[in-house]
């Protein structure tokens, strides 16, 4: 499997660390809503089909990526930085990134 890192380009899955379900929302740090905390820590969407997930390019630029990947076919339809502020300057985002982003925007 290849993941096209917006900075590094297409790289083998071995360079990445899976950080799980990207649909989860972390409650406000001071929140005492235990249901929300429990759901955040333990409950997963786990769909059969397109899945929003987080990967870290730990064996490359170490950025965390927002990936939409199909869990039935492993096809990746979009990859973007988790941080929206990456690449505001010229040196953040490579050409690979713009291609992946375009694809994501097409889907959206």
């Amino acid at each position: 499997m290849l993941i096209t890192c917006p900075y590094c380009g297409p790289r083998d899955v071995i360079e990445f660390t899976y950080q799980g379900d990207g649909n989860r929302e972390r409650p406000d740090p001071a929140s005492q809503n235990f249901e929300a905390w429990n759901a955040y820590v333990y409950d997963r969407l786990n769909p059969a089909g397109d899945h929003n997930e987080i990967w870290q390019h730990s064996g490359g630029c170490r950025a965390h990526l927002k990936v939409v990947r199909n869990t039935l076919t492993h096809e990746i339809s979009s990859v973007a930085f988790m941080r929206s502020d990456h690449g505001r300057g010229d040196h953040g985002r490579g050409d690979h990134g713009s291609a992946a982003r375009r694809k994501a925007e097409d889907k959206a």
Binding site: C8, R11, G59, G60, C61, R62, G89, D90, G92, G94
Partner: protein
């Protein structure tokens, strides 16, 4: 070279660094391996939006003007710089003192400077089979159009994280964690035997 004030740092490769020719020489020596031992290696990281100021600072300190684009970089043979992550750059210099020099120009508002002069070991692989040997380790495309001269890449060979800069058509500088350097060096020598290599 600036005169060192402290003792010469020890190389982690020392007991496994065997100057001379090794391996299969059917086609002559096709790989040259060296340790470049830069006097300083620093990592620079800009806050989002401050990348241009950091690039200007790099130019001020090193005289090197970074090209645009992810992983872009260049080398003048004495100093080298390349991007390895969004807003992050590795700079190496034959001389010591880069970290102190950058500390003066990279203000806290621009980003951070981290001295890695001791923490990274720089190994140079050169020769017509350099791409062939590196392709044994790293799942990245080393062909010149995909990996132009001056550019940098962050990648991994199993547990060994590496930053690689192409410093010539047939030449790459590989920065690895010091603690892994000896293991990686041994593996690199082993993998080069097939084509014949010389340690300089």
């Amino acid at each position: 070279m600036v005169e060192r004030q402290s003792p010469e740092p020890l190389s982690p490769l020392e007991p496994e660094f065997h100057v001379g020719s090794h391996g299969n020489f059917e086609h002559g020596v096709e790989i040259i391996l060296t340790e470049t031992r830069p006097g300083s290696i620093v990592q620079l990281a800009a806050w989002p939006g401050e990348e241009k100021k950091l690039i200007a600072a790099i130019r001020t300190v090193t005289g090197l003007a970074l090209p645009d684009g992810a992983g872009g970089g260049l080398s003048d043979g004495v100093k080298s710089v390349f991007g390895f992550a969004p807003g992050k750059f590795t700079v190496a210099d034959e001389a010591e003192g880069l970290a102190a020099a950058f500390a003066k120009v990279v203000t806290p508002a621009i980003g951070t400077v981290t001295d890695l002069s001791h923490g990274r070991t720089a190994i140079r692989i050169a020769g017509p089979k350099a791409e062939w040997v590196l392709a044994k380790f790293f799942a990245i495309d080393f062909a010149l159009p995909a990996f132009p001269t001056g550019a940098g890449r962050s990648t991994t060979h199993h547990d060994v994280f590496a930053q690689i800069q192409r410093t010539g058509a047939d030449q790459f500088d590989i920065y690895v964690f010091r603690s892994f350097a000896r293991s990686f060096w041994k593996a690199l020598c082993h993998a080069s035997e097939e084509v014949g290599y010389e340690v300089q």
